[in-house]
């Protein structure tokens, strides 16, 4: 295996997005800003759902950030690169197809890590968040691994969204689901109708896994959330596969 081309592909995928303000700013700045507004300024030390608001929101806005980086990186990235014919050109080169997708996963994970680090630092410094070393580790690992299902969902979106509409489409899907999954305000406080929808959505399951680490959340067994996320990953990959096959027969795909 040509390891060097995997590494370079990932490096340039990251640089490409870092230099793209339309991606880098909303991906990194928005989650941190939301956390500052809702998790810190409105009283981070107040108790809620078995922990403090600052700690709870740190978990949910980190989840929000990780999901956003993955959904936009894949959904918009794939849609645009398909539309421009860049993907076609790449497919005609000897680049291993997996290098292309692995680079996008690496990029999403790296952005996710930056977001988690910034939000965690904010929590510790401004909202008095205190976790054990084990909890920090478990929270980061959960969220970073949790990027993968959303890469798969983003991949599917990227194959079905047009290059120009992709940003709007991803936003229209991401924002309401983030809200209904309890990423913005604690799930416990949502109206029952919204809750019953939220329980079916992928961000809910990742947020619950993150909240378990800090001793909060709805209390369902972890395996149910893991199973749901695995299911969404497979569904995303399956849809993406259909889209990929469909592209092969188009003149521009």
């Amino acid at each position: 295996m040509n390891v060097r081309c995997y590494a370079l592909e990932a490096k340039y995928e990251f640089l490409k997005h870092l230099r793209m303000p339309a991606y880098a700013i909303p991906s990194i700045v928005f989650p941190v800003m939301f956390y500052l507004l809702f998790g810190v300024m409105f009283g981070g030390a107040r108790p809620t759902a078995g922990t403090t608001v600052g700690t709870y929101m740190m978990a949910t806005y980190s989840t929000f950030g990780v999901i956003g980086a993955a959904l936009f990186g894949f959904g918009v990235g794939i849609a645009v690169e398909r539309g421009q014919g860049w993907m076609t050109l790449k497919r005609a080169t000897p680049m291993p197809p997996m290098a292309y997708f692995a680079a996008k996963v690496a990029m999403a994970v790296l952005f996710g890590t930056i977001i988690i680090t910034l939000i965690s630092a904010t929590g510790v410094m401004l909202a008095g968040v205190r976790l054990s070393a084990g909890q920090w580790l478990a929270l980061s690992a959960t969220l970073i691994a949790g990027a993968v299902p959303f890469c798969a969902i983003g991949l599917a979106l990227g194959y079905f969204a047009g290059p120009n509409s992709s940003v709007a489409i991803v936003n229209m899907i991401f924002m309401p689901t983030a809200f209904a999954s309890g990423l913005w305000i604690p799930f416990e406080m949502l109206p029952p109708v919204v809750k019953s929808i939220g329980e079916l959505l992928p961000p809910y399951h990742l947020a619950q896994l993150a909240l378990r680490v800090i001793g909060s959340g709805m209390g369902a067994p972890a395996w149910t959330h893991v199973l749901a996320l695995v299911g969404f990953t497979l569904a995303g990959l399956g849809l993406a596969w259909i889209g990929y096959r469909r592209d092969e027969d188009q003149t521009w795909g």
Partner: protein
């Protein structure tokens, strides 16, 4: 032989984009694929590259399936539609593409060959369309490929850049590379190609050496209404082809003066005489519009 299409047909959504095409690409030779928009040139290139599967027929690159990594490692591609990520620098793009190939050129050599050494640190998005074309060329050649696909490579280039580009292509050919070029510009095909293949409506309508195509192009078209039979006209000296369409007869020739004189002597009742200079463009249009009522053109290679 480097690449081959054998009896390849591609249909999608009820449209036959490529219809029974045979094509061979050889080392050290440039094959030019000429034809109007929608003739099937790009689909032919996509089939050769394994980007789309033929409905029937076989495609081989270096004796392998075109999607085989071994085949792709010997192939470089410049596609018409591709736009590349704008926030990466020219050198970064070339650096990445070099990593795909087993024995690539150095980045500097690829940049120099494409004439963009001075743009190495510029972001792709800041370049003019002509400069972008050259980046695409650098990406196509940086892997030292044995076979190069150039899909409309000089669209948007000024005359000077186009000539510099041709120079570079000739240098590659002299080193034994095979090239498949698609183009709208007949001049480009003439300047570069060893073999010109004219496509229309998905099929090959004519092929030959550029000099044969030029001979065709040098020809002139004589239109008239005459009582002479087609056989008689065909037998006249310097007449390349004859086609009768209702009352009008059309002749192609390289010596219009002589044929006109002979015609007027042989048929006193001849009327509606019209002589038009062809030019390659004209010959090309005649070839692509005459499909289905193919004429018996003398200039070799045309079928």
């Amino acid at each position: 032989m480097v690449g081959e299409l054998r009896g390849v047909t591609k249909r999608f959504r009820g449209i036959t984009a490529v219809d029974g095409v045979d094509l061979r690409l050889e080392a050290g030779k440039v094959t030019a694929l000429l034809g109007p928009n929608g003739a099937g040139k790009t689909t032919t290139v996509r089939l050769m590259l394994g980007l789309t599967r033929p409905t029937s027929g076989t495609v081989r690159l270096f004796g392998e399936d075109p999607t085989a990594p071994a085949a792709r490692q010997r192939t470089g591609v410049m596609l018409q539609v591709a736009n590349v990520p704008e926030t990466l620098r020219v050198r970064e793009h070339v650096h990445l593409f070099c990593s795909y190939y087993p024995s690539p050129m150095t980045e500097d050599a690829a940049l120099a060959a494409a004439g963009i050494g001075s743009l190495a640190n510029r972001k792709y998005g800041e370049l003019s369309s002509g400069q972008k074309q050259r980046v695409h060329f650098a990406l196509a050649i940086c892997g030292n490929p044995d076979l190069l696909f150039l899909d409309e490579p000089t669209v948007g280039l000024d005359v000077e850049s186009r000539r510099a580009f041709w120079q570079e292509v000739r240098a590659l050919v002299s080193r034994g590379r095979a090239i498949l070029l698609t183009t709208h510009y007949l001049e480009e095909a003439d300047a570069l190609a060893d073999r010109v293949v004219v496509m229309n409506q998905g099929a090959i309508v004519a092929e030959g050496a550029p000099h044969e195509m030029k001979q065709l192009a040098a020809s002139r078209r004589i239109r008239c209404a005459t009582s002479l039979t087609v056989d008689r006209l065909q037998a006249m000296p310097a007449v390349a082809s004859v086609r009768r369409d209702g009352a009008t007869t059309e002749l192609l020739t390289n010596d219009a003066e002589r044929v006109t004189r002979d015609l007027l002597i042989a048929d006193a009742t001849l009327s509606g005489l019209e002589v038009t200079g062809a030019g390659l463009e004209e010959a090309f249009l005649a070839l692509t519009s005459a499909r289905g009522q193919q004429s018996n053109v003398g200039a070799g290679g045309v079928r």
